[in-house]
């Protein structure tokens, strides 16, 4: 059975199970750079927030899968992921860590730990469950 690296809210249930190398995007320049590289569809995108604007061009140009470290299906990025039918796992946490996101109480170390553990890993998103989305190792 494949290793579940992280879990979070499943934005919408879908049989789509995209796979790719996780790319952590920390700034708008990272997003623009990825679009210009022409390799958008090679990657599952990892971002810190659950807002829409940060990932706007990536969603528009056909991102295949998204993982966020905060937010919920009701967040703007959740709504847009549903509309684009882009599988999305939100407020993901590492299954190997006890650290969990809490609004207004979570320090940078939580986000850095997730980014460090996932960035560059080849994974597949499992979004078949109504509530829980899973990030599964695909190395």
């Amino acid at each position: 059975m494949a290793e579940v690296l992280a879990e979070g809210y499943n934005v919408f249930d879908t049989a789509k199970s995209p796979s790719g190398t996780i790319k952590y995007l920390s700034s708008p320049a990272d997003v623009i750079g990825l679009i210009k590289s022409g390799k958008l569809k090679d990657h599952i995108l990892l971002v810190r927030g659950g807002t829409t604007t940060f990932l706007a061009p990536a969603l528009s140009m056909g991102a295949i899968g998204v993982i966020t470290m905060s937010g919920a299906p009701e967040s703007h990025l959740g709504i847009l992921s549903r509309e684009f039918q882009t599988p999305c796992v939100m407020t993901a946490y590492l299954t190997s860590s006890d650290s969990r996101y809490e609004v207004g109480k979570t320090g940078d170390s939580h986000f850095e730990e997730i980014a460090k553990a996932l960035d560059g890993r080849r994974v597949r998103l499992d979004c078949t469950d109504h509530e829980v989305g899973r990030v599964v190792a695909d190395d």
Binding site: F12, D13, V47, T52, T53, S60, M61, G71, H76, G104
Partner: protein, 477 residues
Amino acid sequence: MTTTEGKRATYKQRYEQGDDGLRFQELTYTGNFVGMEPVTDGIKGDRMMRERAKSGVLEKVSKEDVLRDQFTIDELNDLNNYLAWNIWDVLVMRATEGVSGMIPRQEYEILAFMHEFYRWPEILRMATDEVGGGQGVLDIGATARREIGTKVNAVHDWCIGAVGFGMGRCGLLALEVIGPDDYVEESNEILKFMQRILWGKRQDGYILNSQDNYRCRIHEADFLEQITAQLEPLEADSPKHGAFTQFNAAAELLSFLDHYDCRLGLGDTGPYELPNGQLLILRDLFVNEEVFHWSDVCDDEGLPHCYTLALTIDPEKMALAEIRVNDISTTFTRPKNYIEAITGGAVFVREKWNTPMGEVYPVAIDDLGPHLERVQNATLKLYAKTARMNRRDLIWNGQYVYYVDMILPHLRLAGAYEKACTDYQLWEVDQRVANYYYDITKRGFAQETVPQKIFSGAGYLPFSDNADRRRSKYRWL
């Protein structure tokens, strides 16, 4: 769509007397009801809140009630409590989204909340006077019954009271620059305007979608027939289905971006049950708002003010258990994925905010390609433009999106927008709010204190029994 095989739609049970609805979240709400049973989200939560009201203002009210000059203190407190719960109901999970990485939204939001509470009352009073009094405001609300591509919609109308009064007062109370019994007269002014717009639009006695099991069925039947006549059938997984849903998503994304990552860019109405059992949602996507200077990139692409999408959903195909069109104009369903259950669609264009309905035109789904390309180009250009802006510009731009756009449609239809700009200096920033800019980042005020007060409901302090309805704020001690 493998997860719903063998199941039947049960959503109609949500409209049966006494049904509690589904729970869309595990959290519960307390607000000003400390020591009482926590309030849930959804249909049950609405019922609990109405049962706790002291007045009848949360039940169906008459035109005479709405035209009355002021609310009583009990009515103000009932509205304050209900709006606070409603805000929690629609936003508590959204509010977990954290930092944007692009636009400092918490910062611009709190500045706009407070600015609105200070500045809107006299502007809304002026707009009411311009249309000859309360009936004129009802008439503005009623225009939405025969229009698409109008910002006189659930989210804008809700924002007048929920944001301008509710969150604005909450923020100023948290900042300790006002007390619970200050600005009573101004609170009444804002809430009366909201009630009149919403009542005039709905015309069923309610003002909010949550009071009607999350339905916003405002359009006249003969008007809807003109819309549904343009629907094209869409087969799941067909290129046409893909073209329609892709355009829906791309235009919705641009509407978010043009409105600085807030919900003012989109407006759903419905669900309307059609004779064939399908559910119709009408979705306005405002991709080019002419009062925003950054929207010039949308002009450059030749984008209209609004695309309106009509879409039908097969409730049986997705075994629909509940559908909510909430008070910020957004549709949520259980199961969550309604896209694969879309069975028909149509797209309409309204070039300008005041383009007559007779000049609104449909675009065939097979012809959406060039429109999609323009939407995507504008998205890329607006993103690049926004990414170059400094933090202060982003915050004040966002502040204007809230503070101006939330009442813009009502001012426009009242013929009062120009007067608000010239005589009331709408686009100037009040000196008090300009100074708050430096306070809101201290001690986590914007990112922790205010969200906690707003989303827990703890910050919506009631007016006291001794509050005077004539009272403004006279002392700064």
